[in-house]
């Protein structure tokens, strides 16, 4: 962009939860930082008129699968962060289940260095909790944190062994980082394909019962109560899990939780189409789970909305249901879905939505506060809350288009994504240094 590092975002509705701010005003960005909020009259600054748009601290997706290294045919750090920029995310936390697994400092460095070179937005590497994500031996957490790791997770797999989970929570106190838990009792989920309910009975698809998740959430909550440490529940999907988190929060333990846009918008009844783009873990649950999750978001039991962006090649996904892999892409549709489902319906205020997309994930990951305070790095997401649009997977910038939302009509769309003052996405165009 031709702004010489100095520009004014004029007449946007600035919402900054950490400052308690919600007003139509201007923001001056200089040299990658927020220079101030208010009225400015700088002749050498480009004026970008954003009347009618919302200005938010930059969104963070704390659950992204970038697939690099190993499956660069499905996504790379470059294409994944481009999709993130398009979705309004100024940063993504990259899950460790690549090939090979991000389980040592060398691998972490590979991610940070590649991201520096290729990334449109910030990439915060998540390290594996156990070597090779095998659930047997802890990784060198301290060494990995020094290399840039922000959290630890074996996501894709649960930590089945309770003793290892205990030791992980204990050892993570050395580095003061959060353990992100994929909660699944594999003896219960077995070779399940979808939520176990009347629909699975009808379709003859093998069920993953909701208890496969909630018993593990309950187990880890119990361990957390004994060990201390920080536990974050990834992609929480059931009413029962939510109730566990609610109780644990009452005890002032350090537990947080996220939901995905798809788990609050789609229920298992959609599976009657046998569309493998509806196959993910955890599976789509029931309408009553969705209702509970929305309430949990409102009440603050659920802290974060995260995409679990999981690209899969078409040739792998275009299979009979049982043979297709789990997971869907999410970066480019997230804001539209959550705004349509949560804000348009009056469940969350815009301030609350921004907390869950920006403030809270940054806080949980410990990557610096997301606020538009003077002097802060200019991480800014600008979006149009009135924009009506139809999802078209053919124009995704992600390498994969495994979405169940193709053709969905959504309200609200990202307009501009700013990373440390650099406009990396603006109205359909991408810019990289």
């Amino acid at each position: 962009m031709s702004h010489n590092g100095r520009y004014i975002l004029k007449n946007g509705r600035v919402i900054d939860p950490l400052q308690g701010l919600d007003e139509v005003t201007d923001i001056l960005v200089e040299n990658g930082r927020i220079s101030g909020i208010g009225q400015f009259n700088k002749k050498d600054a480009e004026v970008i008129n954003i009347k009618g748009l919302i200005v938010s601290p930059g969104f963070i997706d704390m659950h992204t699968h970038l697939r690099e290294p190993g499956r660069e045919d499905e996504e790379t750090i470059k294409t994944g962060t481009k999709a993130a920029a398009k979705g309004g995310f100024t940063g993504v936390a990259a899950m460790a289940n690549t090939y090979p697994v991000i389980d040592n400092s060398g691998m972490v460095k590979f991610i940070t260095e590649t991201a520096q070179k290729d990334g449109y937005v910030d990439v915060f590497p998540i390290g594996a909790v156990t070597k090779g994500q095998k659930g047997e031996e802890l990784t060198e957490m301290s060494d990995m944190v020094k290399a840039g790791c922000c959290a630890f997770s074996d996501d894709g797999n649960p930590i089945e062994n309770s003793h290892i989970m205990r030791k992980a929570l204990e050892y993570s106190k050395v580095v003061n980082k959060v353990i992100i838990a994929h909660e699944e009792d594999k003896s219960l989920s077995d070779d399940g394909e979808m939520n176990e309910d009347f629909i699975s009975t009808k379709l003859g698809l093998r069920g993953i019962p909701p208890i496969a998740e909630s018993v593990m959430v309950a187990r880890d909550a119990a361990i957390l109560g004994f060990t201390g440490g920080k536990l974050h529940i990834a992609h929480l999907s059931t009413l029962e899990s939510l109730e566990v988190v609610r109780e644990v929060k009452k005890k002032k333990l350090n537990i947080t939780a996220e939901v995905t846009p798809h788990h609050i918008s789609l229920d298992s009844s959609h599976l009657v189409s046998f569309d493998s783009n509806l196959k993910m873990k955890p599976p789509l649950r029931t309408k009553s789970d969705i209702k509970a999750l929305k309430k949990g978001l409102k009440e603050g039991i659920i802290d974060v909305i995260a995409t679990d962006h999981a690209p899969h090649a078409l040739f792998e996904k275009e299979m009979e249901f049982g043979s297709a892999p789990f997971g869907i892409v999410g970066l480019e549709t997230a804001l539209g879905i959550v705004y349509t489902e949560l804000v348009k319906t009056g469940i969350l205020t815009l301030t609350e939505l921004i907390e869950k997309l920006s403030v809270n994930p940054a806080k949980i990951l410990g990557i610096g506060e997301r606020s538009l305070k003077k002097g802060n790095n200019a991480y800014i997401t600008i979006f149009d809350p009135k924009k009506e649009w139809v999802v078209d997977k053919k124009i995704f910038v992600s390498k994969c288009a495994n979405t169940p939302f193709d053709g969905y009509k959504l309200t609200c769309k990202p307009v501009m994504t700013i990373r440390k003052g650099d406009i990396v996405f603006r109205e359909g165009k991408f810019y990289k240094k």
């Binding site: 009975t201 049982g322 043979s323």
Partner: protein, 311 residues
């Protein structure tokens, strides 16, 4: 009623009127198999691929005979002889068949929804010959035909399906079909083999066989797979036989003229005592005979044939 659909994928999504059309057409076509020359030209020039990714004797034989008696050209591909073992996807396999201008794909697959998956992507008609634990529509139609022959109307008739309901596509298709024809349907088996919330399909659930069979007109017995024991679903086959095996002794509590059905293959002495399988209540071989007629009717009607044109 005219059949306008391209595929037959399940009983859940077809209407009672369509079922009636399949059955009356099958009744007309049944006589062909009694002739000395068992052949009519209704499907002459049509090509049918029987794609069986799971072992089958009865269903494959039944479809093959139906196709031959209608003068179709047909061939069989089973998973051992197909390119699936070489890593080819299901979609590639069927697209290749379509490139060779096949008119029908009859498919049996271990995964629920596999026929639906290919039906959406092919112009050829797809007939589901059993998908995973989902549906087996031609089995349900042949069972309905057998019951229609016995009772005329199924309205108010009481039927209990006994056994491994959870893993049974036959049970699911029959529940939909029997309910559509006005029957009262129950299921009976150990709770570990009854799928979650099956009562929402409109059936009553019994765990006690004696209670389940006492006022029923039909007992439909399902095959029990011996490997269910290792999955933790059954303590032992012995205990299953004790509780749910159909024996002449247990039948003393049933109606005197109760009908026994089974989709085959029978595990003699397990779910069905040989004396019952071969006894006066059994219409099991009649079901098999009707299988050919029903499959002829399905092929004929899906190829655009009219129910009234069959003489």
């Amino acid at each position: 009623m005219e059949i306008t659909r391209k595929d037959l994928l399940g009983i859940e999504d077809i209407s009672m009127e369509e079922i009636e059309t399949f059955l009356t057409t099958a009744e007309s076509l049944k006589e062909i198999s009694e002739r000395a020359i068992k052949k009519v030209p209704y499907l002459r020039g049509k090509t049918v691929a029987n794609l069986f990714f799971e072992p089958s004797t009865r269903t494959l034989a039944s479809f093959s005979l139906a196709e031959k008696r209608l003068s179709a050209d047909s061939f069989n591909l089973s998973s051992s002889s197909s390119s699936v073992l070489k890593g080819e996807t299901l979609l590639d396999t069927v697209r290749n068949l379509e490139a060779m201008k096949v008119d029908f794909v009859v498919i049996r697959h271990s995964m629920s929804g596999a026929p639906h998956f290919i039906a959406k992507r092919l112009t050829a008609s797809v007939i589901n010959a059993g998908d995973g634990t989902h549906e087996h529509p031609t089995q349900a139609l042949l069972d309905l035909l057998s019951l229609k022959e016995k009772f005329g109307s199924l309205k108010g008739k009481k039927i209990v399906i006994v056994g491994d309901i959870m893993h049974s596509r036959v049970a699911r298709s029959n529940i939909w079909g029997l309910k559509k024809m006005g029957a009262e349907v129950s299921v009976c088996g150990p709770p570990t083999l009854i799928p979650y919330k099956i009562e929402k399909m409109g059936v009553k659930v019994y765990y006690d066989l004696n209670e389940a069979i006492e006022d029923k007109d039909v007992i439909y017995v399902l095959r029990i797979q011996k490997e269910r024991q290792t999955g933790g679903l059954l303590p032992s086959l012995r205990e299953y036989i004790e509780l749910y095996g159909i024996t002449p002794e247990k039948l003393k509590k049933a109606k005197k003229d109760v009908i026994i059905m089974h989709p085959g293959p029978i595990n003699r002495g397990v779910e069905l005592d040989p004396r019952v399988a071969d006894g006066k209540h059994s219409i099991i071989l009649g079901q098999v005979t009707n299988g050919v007629a029903v499959r002829m009717a399905v092929l004929y009607l899906l190829s655009g044939g009219k129910s009234g044109d069959v003489s």
